[in-house]
């Protein structure tokens, strides 16, 4: 009797293992958006919501790409202009301009930030194998925040590592503590 029970446990474990494998085979979903005719992707699990552009409260003495803060249902959320962050030419915000609200992990803490992009494009399933690592662009260009490049229907999508991209904007500068 005991042996049958052990067997059933084993079979369940086997199924679990199988499901893990099939999960790996599953494609990961990425939300893509447009910016200066290029398509960028972010892991859809880190996207909290997508909002239209609304006016923000500027933060004094912040870097140029930090547009300001908004009130997102009672919490203060910083908004970052990705065009400015990538040193692209600024454009006027139009009706298609959207803010993608992302959950960003900084160490063990999770923070909420918004990025301003030209328009939201699509959701694709990409497998990690399809993704190529970003080419080395020399010393001058930092590719840390590019998770990889993926091709979909003749297009190239730059998949961004959101945590690496935005972590610097959330860290308080230690230099603030000035010693006279």
């Amino acid at each position: 009797m005991a042996s049958t029970e052990q067997q059933s446990v084993e079979s369940i474990e086997e199924k679990l293992d199988n499901s893990k494998i099939s999960e790996e085979e599953n494609l990961e979903q990425y939300l893509t958006f447009l910016m200066a005719e290029e398509e960028y992707g972010v892991d859809i699990l880190s996207v909290q919501e997508i909002r239209g552009w609304e006016s923000v409260t500027p933060v004094p003495n912040s870097p140029k790409h930090v547009k300001g803060v908004i009130n997102l249902r009672g919490t203060i959320v910083p908004i970052i202009d990705l065009r400015a962050k990538f040193n692209l030419d600024a454009i006027d915000y139009g009706p298609l301009t959207v803010v993608i609200v992302l959950k960003v992990a900084l160490g063990t803490v999770e923070r909420v930030m918004g990025i301003v992009v030209d328009a939201v494009s699509d959701v694709y399933g990409l497998s990690l194998e399809d993704m190529q690592t970003a080419p080395d662009l020399g010393d001058h260009i930092n590719t840390n925040y590019i998770q990889g490049l993926a091709g979909v229907d003749e297009k190239m999508i730059v998949v961004l590592d959101i945590d690496a991209l935005l972590a610097n904007d959330m860290r308080s500068q230690a230099a603030n503590v000035s010693v006279h």
Binding site: E5, Q6, N71, I76, D169, H180
Partner: protein, 727 residues
């Protein structure tokens, strides 16, 4: 059916800690020559009820220990024994020890009994009529490191003592419960959890007796278990887990030889021995580290993993987290809340009725209703905030004991005076102000007050006085720590500051500026590092902690007469009265408490000082003008000062005038953190959400003043020049 006692554990801990607190305060007040029967009774009752309830909950270590305490107290109470100062000391140490034991229990750790066993022995010696002459010394030493005895485990049960082994041992437990074990309300899983708390547990189920599926009854248990437990606990402790089921079950508990049982089977016996020794050594070392940290309270907790895992500070931190979850609220506060909510409901139904058949003739009624709603909301808000308020005695209560201990250690005679203990303060502020206060009081005792001989030589009474005074002033709570000691030695501070390069050798400094130097990082003038203070981590940390609470700290001192440290804190962190101001297109909030007055300046009153700094003559004072558009790089409506408004602000003891475009309304704002999703922004203490849903930033006045650089002599000129160039 047994009742799940664990649901009462939290209450037990709270009551016991309260009991210990009252024991401690009574012990501190007691006068041995003329012992007040009432206080002795209070101490006795507290000990008795801790003994009773810990017995009920099965915490035998605590119960046994308190039993000895109680025996002594009983003799004192019926007059058959006279209370000696030694006894009071011993009792105070026992209070500490009990607190540590209960803390460990609360954190779900194994109780360490090394200290309590020592104390029990000392008590027994007294009870047997032998005064513990030699014992007392060793025990006094023991007090500083309660919990250092992390390496010896087991229970204080004298019968179990022989089973106590150094370090961990491995137990093999073979457990087949009766088929009806679940019906009797004994859940094996719970026992295993209990075992898990004792150490590392691995469980293997024995399935041999499980019948066919059709024959299984859901309330019957056919399983058995083989358990391997690595623990420091003794056999008695393990047996206790199975106490309720042992009669009906097959139970065998065997000790496997030592911690490295598998290794012992190999012929190389030496190898298996040496790691065990090393392990014990490491544990002892971590115990020492603990002792050190606890004596240096304000220093950040050492985060060595060994310390965290093995010994009590980790447990203490956990305990704190658990404590923070509950708060005791007076019934009067609750009653007033219930009343207010009732009123709110009435107002709401009135407005609802009005809305159903509304026409313009009802406008006056609507306005009245809304006014009432506003009134209700505000009162409700105030009452809710009041729930978080606790009298500052919670923070002050630790000082009598501390002063008593330190006065012995430092060989000084000290009187502690507490004033305004009933002043209420927000719970979060209270929690964060504790450590800075301890540090300041320690400093006053160690550096401030002189030794009796020096005091007499200086013509003062040999007993020094430290006064803690708390009171409300405006929207702030003020805590003053006053000592009548030597005061700050200005020459010494100056010399030290010059050595450290904090000030130039020939720089002219006012007395206040010199005193302020002690708050600079890395500044300590103590000639030698003592146990109490002088480690150089100190006043800067105190100031930073206080600034984090939006508070300020200042020191006034007169050499030979003493010093006064004044801490100014906001009553609450969540809400503030703000003045909305306009600058260009932006709206900012200035905390109303820092505004002195607002006015339109005349051209004659504005002077340009060389270097580009503008000053404004306010009656007889010249105060520097801070242009917000310069420090925040915002486009203002006008840069013509005569067309803008000046808001005179108070930052610390200095005044500044802030130029703004317009003053808007005053309102209460809820403070939202910028740091939760972004980072600290210079000059901004937080943000709030205005009525229209937009975000407005709250100005941090002292930070802004620092940014403008008006009070920093060397940096001022350069910074202002730069800004002018930029503008």
């Amino acid at each position: 059916m047994s009742i799940d006692l664990s649901q009462f554990h939290q209450i037990f801990y709270e009551e016991s800690f309260e009991g210990l607190d009252s024991m401690e305060s009574c012990l501190l007040e007691i006068d041995c020559d003329d012992a007040d029967l009432e206080s002795i009774n209070t101490i006795f009752r507290a000990a008795h009820s801790i003994k009773g309830s810990s017995g009920t909950f099965g915490f035998a270590d605590v119960a046994d220990f308190t039993h000895v305490l109680e025996t002594l107290l009983d003799q004192v109470r019926d007059g058959s024994r006279k209370l000696q100062p030694d006894h009071v000391d011993l009792l105070l140490q026992s209070v500490d020890c009990l607190r540590a034991m209960l803390g460990q229990l609360q954190a779900g750790e194994t109780v360490t009994t090394g200290h309590s066993t020592e104390l029990i022995a000392a008590f027994n010696a007294i009870l047997d009529g032998k005064e513990p002459v030699s014992g007392a010394a060793s025990i006094t030493e023991g007090t500083s490191d309660t919990g250092a005895s992390g390496s010896d485990g087991g229970s204080g049960d004298s019968s179990a003592d022989e089973d106590v082994s150094e370090g961990e041992s491995t137990w093999q437990i073979h457990f087949i419960p009766d088929v009806n074990v679940l019906r009797t309300g004994n859940e094996p899983v719970r026992m295993f959890r209990e075992l898990q708390e004792l150490g590392t547990l691995s469980v293997t189920a024995i399935l041999e007796n499980v019948p066919g599926f059709g024959a299984i009854h859901p309330e019957e248990c056919h399983l058995g278990w083989d358990l391997i437990l690595d623990t420091t606990a003794s056999r008695a402790v393990i047996e206790e887990v199975f106490e309720w089921v042992v009669d009906e079950s097959v139970l065998a508990i065997d000790e496997l030889a030592g911690m490295f049982a598998p290794l012992d089977e190999t012929p190389d016996g030496t190898q298996s021995q040496s790691p065990t020794v090393a392990d014990v050594v490491i544990e002892e070392q971590s115990g020492e580290v603990v002792a050190e940290t606890s004596s240096a309270t304000v220093q950040p907790m050492i985060t060595t993993e060994a310390v965290k895992e093995e010994s009590s500070p980790g447990g203490k931190a956990k305990t704190k987290a658990v404590e923070a979850t509950s708060i005791r609220v007076g019934t009067d506060k609750i009653d007033s809340l219930v009343n207010l909510v009732g009123e709110l409901v009435i107002t709401q139904s009135m407005l609802g009725q009005l809305g159903e058949e509304f026409d313009m003739s009802h406008v006056a009624k609507l306005q009245e209703g809304l006014a009432q709603l506003e009134h209700n909301t505000r009162e409700l808000q105030e009452s809710v905030m009041r729930i978080r308020m606790l009298p500052i005695s919670f923070s002050f209560s630790r000082f009598p004991r501390m002063v008593r201990d330190l006065s012995k250690q430092l060989e000084k005679k000290i009187d502690l005076v507490l004033i305004g203990e009933q002043t209420e303060l927000d719970k979060t502020v209270m929690e964060k102000i504790g450590d800075p206060l301890v540090h300041l009081v320690r400093n006053s005792l160690d550096h401030g007050l002189e030794k009796p001989a020096e005091r007499i030589a200086a013509g003062k009474s040999d007993t020094g006085t430290v006064t803690l005074n708390a009171f409300h002033q405006g929207g702030n709570i003020i805590i003053e720590i006053t000592d009548d000691g030597a005061g700050l030695n200005k020459d010494k501070i100056r010399k030290k500051a010059v050595e450290n390069g904090l000030v130039g050798e020939k720089e002219a400094l006012s007395d206040d500026q010199i005193n302020d130097l002690i708050f600079k990082p890395g500044f300590s003038t103590a000639d030698s590092v003592t146990d109490v203070s002088g480690r150089g981590v100190g006043m800067d940390v105190v100031r930073r902690n206080i600034q984090e609470l939006n508070g300020t700290i200042e020191v006034r001192s007169e050499e030979g007469k003493g010093s006064v440290f004044t801490i100014r804190l906001p009553l609450t962190l969540a809400i503030l009265d703000g003045q909305l101001i306009q600058l260009g297109e932006q709206k900012y909030i200035i905390p109303l408490v820092s505004i002195v007055e607002s006015l339109q300046p005349e051209l004659d009153d504005i002077n340009h000082v060389a270097g580009g700094c503008d000053v404004f003559r306010l009656r007889d004072d010249y105060i520097p003008i801070i242009k917000l558009w310069e420090i925040f790089s915002v486009e203002p409506v006008t840069t013509d000062l005569t067309k803008s408004l000046l808001v005179v602000l108070e930052s610390g003891s200095e005044k500044v005038a802030l130029v703004v475009d317009d003053l808007l309304g005053q309102q209460q704002v809820v403070i939202k953190s910028m740091e939760s999703n972004y980072k600290k922004v210079e000059g901004v203490s937080g943000a709030t959400i205005l009525g229209d849903g937009t975000v407005s930033l709250i100005l941090d006045i002292s930070d802004m003043v620092r940014m403008a650089g008006v009070f920093h002599k060397d940096s001022k000129v350069v910074q202002m020049k730069d800004r002018h160039k930029a503008a």
